[in-house]
């Protein structure tokens, strides 16, 4: 029963692993539209491939340290699920030479299919970033955290994992109107991947998965 069921594992896991949003807030009243593509790396036959995972995002700079954003998960839509992320990015510390700027991004991740199939996952990302060069390119690292609020799974079984954390590192190439972003994320290194059937590529072998993402942002 193994092989083809792997798609279930892949798809459910990638729901939880979209790339980071607005590590650095937009300028005041600035707007941006972003599309990102990427997902966990898996071994598929002899090849290592990322699972394509598509999200679209809109952000608005409330002020120069606070950006509100919303994302729609296109992959989830393919399965008839409305999955949106609503959140803000707040910069709490300015960069001081080599000491990075710090931002936090609380997010509500909402998935809805029908009245019996709906979920809400709070997320909290903590980001450190450095701007450099005349284009103000960005290097960043951070920790994205997902929280599973349900205490029980199907048939009253205790839900074993309530915290899924995802260390990430990325780089953003910026110009006046466009940003291009590359990000790598280790997804759930605290959770065994041995029952997930899929051969994930991960530095931790039996735990988690390694995701890679490419993003493109148009600023207005």
């Amino acid at each position: 029963m193994r092989t083809n069921i792997l798609l279930i594992s892949i798809t459910t896991l990638i729901y939880a692993c979209s790339p980071g949003r607005y590590v650095k807030p937009l300028e005041k009243k600035q707007q941006a539209v972003n599309v990102s593509l990427g997902g966990p790396l898996i071994k598929y036959g002899a090849a290592t491939i990322p699972i394509p995972f598509l999200t679209a995002n809109y952000g608005y700079g409330i002020d120069s340290t606070l950006t509100a954003f919303g994302s729609a998960n296109i992959t989830a839509a393919l399965f008839g699920n409305a999955q949106v992320e609503l959140g803000v990015t707040k910069q709490v510390l300015k960069q001081n030479k080599y000491i990075p700027a710090i931002s936090i991004s609380p997010v509500l991740n909402i998935i809805y299919k029908n009245k019996d199939a709906k979920k809400l996952y709070p997320q909290l990302a903590i980001n450190a970033f450095w701007e450099y060069g005349k284009h103000k390119n960005l290097i960043y690292a951070g920790l994205d955290n997902w929280f599973e609020l349900s205490s029980k799974r199907a048939y009253g079984i205790n839900q074993p994992n309530h915290w899924i954390f995802m260390p990430m590192i990325g780089h953003s190439f910026n110009n006046k109107k466009w940003n291009f972003n590359l990000e790598a994320k280790i997804i759930a290194p605290n959770i065994s991947n041995e029952i997930l059937v899929v051969d994930y590529v991960t530095p931790f072998k039996t735990h988690g998965a390694l995701g890679v993402y490419f993003g493109c942002t148009r600023k207005f």
């Binding site: 029963m1 279930i8 539209v33 296109i74 008839g80």
Partner: protein, 301 residues
């Protein structure tokens, strides 16, 4: 500038609106097609090989076709079936209906069926196996309703040969536990007298939750109604459950143990096999100890 942004938003909305038709349902079926059945001469990948002591004479192996028609279908589908035993004695023999898993075809499961044909002694019990639609040489495309219709087609054939309910035993492995449980619980052509499940799954939802590590509703990904954990509640016949403790695909605690705990019929017995994986119960515990468990359940309860 605003016009450009509207364009981006419009594209996003359109893409989202136009989609919403995918599910993972088809991924339940990991079938392979065949142009002929080779059984003992099959050289493809199998879970285990039996030695000559388990050999079944060619005269006791019967390959034939059946017509299977689900309730809502207008035309029947031709599926392949295998009967191990003496067809002329079905009216007096006890028969195990073996529902195989989701992989490949009957050639892959031949060794397992042949092993069951050695329960207690060689050909003591007849063994019936089919390839679900889309599997092996069977026509059509696999569906959930098709699984039930195909097994029911086998039961109709057995009934036509004179088999009675009290001499029919149902055995399901992995995905095959779904039709085995459903046809034991509900009214179909025959009502098996006993139910045996090897490495059963609880439901598609449990599979998704095990796979994701999150308590996600199964409806997010599948419309499959397969739910052994609920179906078993209406099974009253004696029930045998066997599961590998090291099953890294259908976890013994989240799948098999749930099904077992939901059974409330007349008699049940469980066999947790240490160190056995999803497909290695027989090889881990040994063929004869496995056959003894199965045989004792059939003859004593």
């Amino acid at each position: 500038m605003k016009l450009q942004m509207k364009k981006y938003i419009l594209i996003t909305v359109v893409i989202t609106g136009l989609t919403s038709c995918f599910t993972l349902d088809d991924n339940l079926f990991n079938k392979s097609e065949l142009t002929e059945y080779k059984l003992d001469n099959y050289s493809g990948d199998v879970d285990f090989h039996l030695d000559n002591s388990f050999y079944i004479q060619d005269t006791m192996v019967h390959l034939f076709t059946l017509n299977s028609k689900a309730t809502e279908e207008s035309n029947a589908t031709t599926i392949y079936a295998l009967y191990i035993g003496d067809i002329s004695k079905i009216a007096t023999d006890t028969v195990i209906m073996y529902c195989h898993g989701n992989k490949d075809h009957m050639d892959f499961y031949w060794q397992r069926a042949k092993l069951l044909a050695n329960t207690k002694s060689k050909n003591r019990f007849g063994v019936m196996m089919i390839d679900y639609r889309g599997y092996g040489m069977s026509e059509g495309k696999p569906t959930e309703d098709g699984l039930y219709a195909d097994v029911d087609a086998a039961l109709k054939w057995l009934k036509g040969k004179g088999l009675s309910n009290d001499r029919l035993l149902m055995y399901g492995f992995s995905m095959g536990t779904a039709p085995a449980t459903k046809l034991s619980a509900e009214s179909y052509s025959m009502k098996p007298s006993k139910l045996m499940l090897e490495a059963p799954f609880a439901s598609a939802e449990t599979m998704i939750q095990d796979g994701s590590g999150l308590a996600m509703p199964g409806d997010f990904f599948t419309t499959l109604k397969i739910n052994n954990a609920e179906e078993i509640k209406t099974v009253t016949q004696p029930f045998f459950w066997i599961h590998g403790e090291a099953d890294d695909f259908l976890n013994i605690d989240t799948h098999g143990a749930v099904v077992y705990s939901h059974y409330s019929g007349t008699y049940k017995e469980s066999h947790r096999i240490p160190a056995a994986g999803h497909s290695t119960i027989q090889t881990t515990m040994g063929f004869q100890p496995y056959l003894k468990l199965v045989g004792d359940f059939i003859t004593q309860h």
